[in-house]
């Protein structure tokens, strides 16, 4: 590892996110509006998705690392450039990704995968199939539980919006949007958010199972 990288890691290790720094970060991400932390959650999710699309296995950790660096920069130097919070986060995320990529290449681990490599053998074994069936059963059980936690309208949206073949979906979505008195775009955004919550619930449930 180079001297520069040593110093980078040392600095990173020295600084921890304090309560004050977190509050400053939340306020900065909110701008003028108080979102009760929703802006932070949304930004973390976008960053995590970004790293996921870059084939980083530790996408959540890298999202946290990005936000920690932004918070540190806010505390130590303030951010006076004319960038919006979202754009600044993106710029930092790019550096975090490039750094992660260099570290992965220098110290190959399982934290980054090449997009050209198929993750699984083409022909699954019987054991794989049995495990997949068990996983599917767990997912179904958890999905049932998590769906029951949704209110009736959200449950209706999730089952009508996402279920069905490609052609059926188009009709379902149009009819659902009409029945709710909203545009299809607005419905899409709402359905996406419900799905995100539902998926997180199923993930927690399956992890605990």
């Amino acid at each position: 590892m180079t001297e520069f990288a040593d110093k980078t890691f040392a600095r990173r290790a020295e600084w921890t996110l304090s309560q004050d720094a977190l509050q400053r970060l939340l306020a900065w991400l909110d701008g003028d509006a108080n979102s009760d932390g929703r802006a932070y959650v949304e930004m973390r999710r976008r960053l995590s998705d970004y790293f996921g699309r870059k084939n980083c296995r530790t996408a959540d950790d890298l999202a946290d690392e990005t936000l920690t660096r932004v918070a540190r920069r806010l505390e130590e130097e303030g951010i006076t450039r004319g960038e919006t919070p979202a754009r600044y986060c993106y710029i930092v995320a790019r550096f975090v990704f490039l750094e992660h990529l260099r570290e992965s290449q220098a110290h190959p681990t399982a934290t980054h995968v090449s997009g050209d490599v198929a993750p699984h053998p083409a022909v699954p074994s019987e054991a794989d199939a049995a495990e997949a069936a068990a996983t599917h059963e767990t997912q179904l059980t958890c999905l049932q539980k998590c769906l029951q936690e949704l209110d009736a309208l959200n449950r209706r949206i999730i089952t009508r919006y996402y279920v069905g073949s490609a052609r059926v979906k188009i009709d379902n979505r149009r009819e659902l949007a009409e029945s709710l008195g909203v545009s299809v775009n607005a419905l899409t955004i709402r359905a996406c958010r419900i799905r995100t919550r539902l998926e997180a619930c199923v993930r927690r449930c399956a992890g605990a199972a």
Binding site: D49, C56, A86, R87, G115, Q139, Y162, I189, R195, V202
Partner: protein, 290 residues
């Protein structure tokens, strides 16, 4: 910053790693800085994963999804979730606004009960299928329009006539070697759990199979029959040409009964393009019983 919201196709290419680097970086940035674009990417990603879960991705798109998208545990987890979500379709019925209050409370229970009843249902289906096949063989045989089958049948009939001239007449109880069973297979859904079953009576000469193709278009096709017992290819077709029936395309196969035994089979259809290697165009599973 003024941005033009990318199209669904562009976002799909982005998610499948098919965009040039500069364009991919632009979408990287928009996915974080632009609210509308971030939502749109999320929506397209959900639809893409759902399409995979439903078996609606084919050819290049499927290959790209497997090799370029399913590369992280999180994405594989999202795919498992999508598969569970799509199970609502087959378990909860066609749905409707009345579902809102009802919900999927009985989803897993239904699944389990369904499996418990599977054995009984299979027996009933086999009995019905056997009767149906016996009654319908003659009518369906007349409907087989594939020229290859017709020629095959004519040859067999000619051979039978020649044989009848040289050997004593059958007792009447022995099955005719000309008997043809018929099976019509539609594209297999990933979520499909109940396989079509065909009962072959003793003496059945061949199994005529009509395969309804996915909406793909190749100048020619090839088919191979894979036995589940040992996962081996037991029969291959010659080059096949699809025929149009309504708005779908079909190909017809004549499987010799001699290669069929009581077990599960997979017919793998490959499209043969004008240039290049053949590509898998569909898979059809069925069960043979005697």
């Amino acid at each position: 910053m003024t941005t033009e919201t990318p199209s669904v196709e562009t976002i799909r290419d982005y998610l499948l790693g098919q965009l040039p680097e500069s364009e991919s970086e632009r979408l990287d940035e928009l996915s974080i800085t632009d609210d509308e674009c971030a939502e749109r990417i999320r929506a397209v990603e959900h639809d893409l994963v759902d399409a995979f879960a439903r078996g609606e991705l084919h050819g290049v798109a499927l290959d790209q999804f497997r090799s370029r998208y399913l590369t992280t545990p999180r994405r594989r987890q999202a795919t498992r979730f999508a598969q569970a979500l799509q199970s609502l379709d087959e378990n909860a019925g066609s749905g409707g606004s009345s579902e809102a209050g009802r919900g999927p409370a009985t989803l897993v229970g239904k699944t389990r009960r369904w499996r418990e009843l599977l054995a009984v249902a299979a027996a009933v289906i086999l009995a019905i299928a056997s009767v149906w096949l016996v009654l319908d063989n003659r009518r369906l045989r007349e409907r087989v329009t594939n020229t290859e089958l017709q020629r095959d049948r004519q040859l067999r009939e000619a051979e039978a006539r020649r044989a009848a001239d040289t050997v004593p007449p059958p007792t009447g109880r022995e099955p005719s070697p000309l008997t043809i069973a018929t099976l019509v297979l539609t594209p297999q859904l990933r979520s499909a759990r109940q396989l079509p079953t065909v009962a072959l009576a003793a003496g059945t000469g061949s199994l005529a199979v009509q395969l309804e193709l996915e909406p793909v278009n190749y100048p020619a096709y090839e088919a191979s029959l894979v036995a589940s017992n040992g996962d081996r290819i037991v029969w291959r077709s010659d080059r096949l040409i699809a025929r149009t029936v309504g708005d779908r395309q079909r190909i017809d196969l004549g499987l010799p009964a001699t290669v069929l035994s009581p077990q599960e089979y997979l017919i793998r259809v490959s499209g043969v393009p004008a240039r290049g290697a053949s590509e898998i165009a569909g898979e059809y599973r069925f069960i043979v019983v005697r």
